[in-house]
């Protein structure tokens, strides 16, 4: 262990935990400020997220979204690319999923539709990431700027399509028609009637997201491409010297990243809503950034961070239900604090922790 490094269990366990505790302490102070009991708030939050079957179901449902978008951001991260466009890629990916479902749902059962929906979501998401990736690789247009801009373009495109093209005649809502059985993923509550998941929309996409985690792990740490991606991310000039093409890596990484984000549509569009809705992404793409940061870009970390954010989403809703003075905006504040401490301030406590462990390790060496 060299100086300044931490054992894995500290890096991936203790440090995030400290950040999280700090976030909750500050949140507690905010709750106190508006005159509510923070312990009461925590109780409702945890109970709402994990205390009963339906709550657990919703937590896992949200977590599924975050796993997809978190993986998307993480893969790009490994190549040193900051993909802020998960939101737009997921949105357009949802279109790919919806088109597959709309085309097939009346003719075939869901398990025939599913591979096409996954392909559709991945292809559309990847397609949406291709242009920013290409521009970064070939023209040096910064990926942060272009992906943000593509979020807006995605939003406009989808409004146009949903309001003018895909909306059924006479329907008020800017959405597609509802999918038939053949375009709906089975809900876990139907697959495992033994587990009480209430009426929650958690569905097969949860397992698809876990498969995606394994595949991402294999890709990044067990393949030649993954090695190239990591090399490029850590030192682009060394990568070039080693014969790795920056253009190729940038474009391919962005395609993979976009595909993962696009697959979020499987959970939302094919799993939960059974239709393509306006703004169905609801900020999940952005939360993916926090999830990837918090999970340190590792699939296991991303799963844990996703479940945490799932708990914040579901428990937060329950909290707003039970304590009316804590509005949904307060919930956003709490979520923002977690993002702030886990993401932006992730290195705040690091020097102290490193100092602590170095001293500890030093003592051991002396002894």
């Amino acid at each position: 262990m060299t100086k300044g490094q931490l054992p894995n269990w500290v890096e991936y366990g203790v440090l995030p935990a400290i950040n999280l505790i700090a976030a909750f302490l500050v949140s507690g102070a905010v709750v106190l400020l508006i005159g509510e009991n923070p312990l009461e708030a925590v109780k409702w939050l945890v109970w709402g997220a994990l205390g009963y079957g339906e709550g657990v179901g919703f937590t896992l449902f949200y977590a599924t979204n975050f796993i997809f978008t978190g993986l998307a951001v993480a893969v790009a991260f490994h190549a040193g690319l900051f993909n802020i466009g998960g939101e737009g890629q997921a949105y357009v990916g949802g279109l790919g999923v919806a088109l597959a479902c709309l085309a097939m749902d009346q003719y075939v059962p869901w398990y025939v539709t599913m591979p096409f929906a996954i392909l559709g979501g991945a292809a559309f998401g990847a397609g949406w990431a291709l242009i920013p990736g290409y521009l970064q690789a070939k023209r040096g247009s910064h990926i942060v700027i272009t992906t943000i801009m593509f979020n807006f373009i995605a939003s406009s495109l989808m409004v146009y399509l949903l309001a003018n093209v895909l909306r059924p005649q006479g329907s008020m809502q800017p959405s597609t028609r509802g999918f038939e059985e053949g375009g709906q993923l089975p809900l876990l509550r139907h697959m495992f009637p033994g587990f009480d998941l209430g009426q929650s929309p958690v569905n097969l996409a949860l397992f698809i997201s876990l498969v995606a985690c394994v595949l991402v792990w294999l890709l990044i740490w067990r393949t030649k491409l993954g090695y190239e991606i990591r090399t490029f991310g850590q030192n682009p000039s060394a990568a070039v010297y080693a014969g790795i093409s920056p253009v190729r890596i940038t474009v391919i990484t962005m395609l993979i990243s976009g595909a993962l984000a696009g697959m979020m549509g499987i959970n939302e569009v094919m799993g939960a809503q059974a239709r393509l809705l306006l703004d169905f992404t609801a900020g999940y793409g952005f939360v993916g950034i926090a999830v990837a940061l918090m999970g340190r870009g590792h699939p296991i970390g991303i799963i844990l961070a996703s479940v945490l954010f799932g708990m914040l989403y579901q428990g937060g809703a329950e909290l707003a239900f039970e304590i009316p003075t804590i509005t949904r905006d307060m919930i956003v504040v709490i979520q923002a604090l977690v993002i702030l401490f886990a993401g932006a301030l992730e290195y705040m406590f690091r020097p102290a922790v490193v100092a602590f462990f170095n001293q500890f390790a030093g003592e051991k060496a002396v002894a």
């Binding site: 809502q173 009426q199 929309p201 939302e268 809703a317 509005t327 905006d329």
Partner: protein, 332 residues
């Protein structure tokens, strides 16, 4: 399963007890994305619930939706806790309500701005095109440049419906009138961007418009402000916004969401609840144009007579105002 039966029984008991004491209702309100303080549509619903609370002392619970999956969840949570009636605000709730209302056939639901055809749902819809028609007439009569304009919020069919009625009304007064139409944006943020609203209005003024109608929620605050700053006329929407800039707001197209919510709650309290579609047009005072001390100097006697006549003609069916959402086109 046993657990479920017990829970169901408890809810049933809760439901029956609410039915037994009709004056002791436990209402719930579910707002849409805008939230209860959007200074526009959702807030009008909030005001209606507050009116009811002030008058009767009956408290209510409410919830602000944050993402699409919460729609069903919120409705179910309320229904399970024995709340009744449950008022849902906004057309986007329709799909969720359809599902949940079937699960809780004993609970009374209402939805504003959409139709859900179930035996325990009251659907409240407004004829925005009729009110927009009248303010379109007023705009056409008030303009001195023969150019008027419209600023919409998010580009959705509902807002095009406002625009279409407005245009038809203006054309009825002056077939050659120039009408400039702009939408603020394509995302939910378009409802809350007063700066952009003001800029759009200013660009319309630069193209000779001197009366601007907004249907843009909080974005419209910027539209009305710009009109006041440049000495032009604005037209408010949803609630009566005449007082915001007295003398600079020609009128407001008022949509009585507050009254509709208050009435629904009152009907539940007094056991006069009815299900089915409630159309709130000019005839039902669901939409109207606002005339008060802030704009009486702007509305001449001729204008008032003409608009009142048109209102009667619309109610009697002599004038048919085109509803954009019927065929997704606006012939004007």
């Amino acid at each position: 399963m046993k657990m479920k039966t017990t829970i169901c029984a408890t809810f049933m008991a809760a439901l029956m007890s609410t039915a037994a004491f009709a004056d002791d209702i436990k209402p719930g309100v579910v707002y849409d994305f805008g939230g209860r303080n959007d200074r526009s549509f959702n807030e009008a619903a909030f005001n209606g619930a507050e009116m009811f609370k002030e008058r009767t002392g009956i408290n209510y619970r409410d919830f602000e939706i944050q993402n699409p999956s919460q729609r069903e969840q919120a409705l179910r949570n309320f229904a399970r806790r024995g709340l009744d009636p449950i008022i849902t605000i906004g057309f986007a709730q329709a799909a969720a309500l359809e599902k949940v209302a079937k699960e809780f056939p004993e609970t009374r639901f209402a939805i504003v701005d959409s139709v859900v055809d179930l035996p325990n749902v009251r659907s409240i819809v407004f004829r925005e095109e009729q009110g927009s028609y009248l303010v379109g007439m007023l705009a056409a009569m008030a303009t001195e440049t023969d150019t008027i304009s419209f600023v919409g919020g998010m580009d959705i069919p509902l807002i095009r419906k406002f625009a279409c009625g407005y245009k038809q009304g203006a054309h009825a007064v002056n077939p050659d009138i120039e009408i400039i139409e702009n939408m603020t944006g394509t995302t939910g943020a378009a409802w809350t961007d007063p700066v952009k609203g003001g800029e759009l209005a200013r660009s319309q003024f630069a193209r000779d418009s001197d009366v601007v109608f907004h249907a843009a929620g909080a974005t419209g605050m910027g539209v009305l402000q710009a009109a006041a700053d440049e000495g032009k006329l604005g037209i408010g929407v949803d609630s009566n916004q005449n007082h915001l800039h007295p003398g600079q707001v020609l009128t407001s197209m008022v949509k009585a969401v507050d009254v509709a919510v208050d009435t629904a709650l009152e009907d539940a309290r007094t056991d006069q609840w009815s299900n089915g579609v409630q159309v709130m047009g000019l005839a039902e005072d669901g939409v109207s144009w606002a005339l008060d001390e802030h704009n009486q100097d702007l509305i001449s006697e001729d204008m008032k007579t003409a608009v009142d006549a048109a209102k009667q003609d619309i109610i009697s069916g002599k004038i048919e105002v085109h509803d954009y959402m019927v065929d997704n086109t606006c012939p004007f």
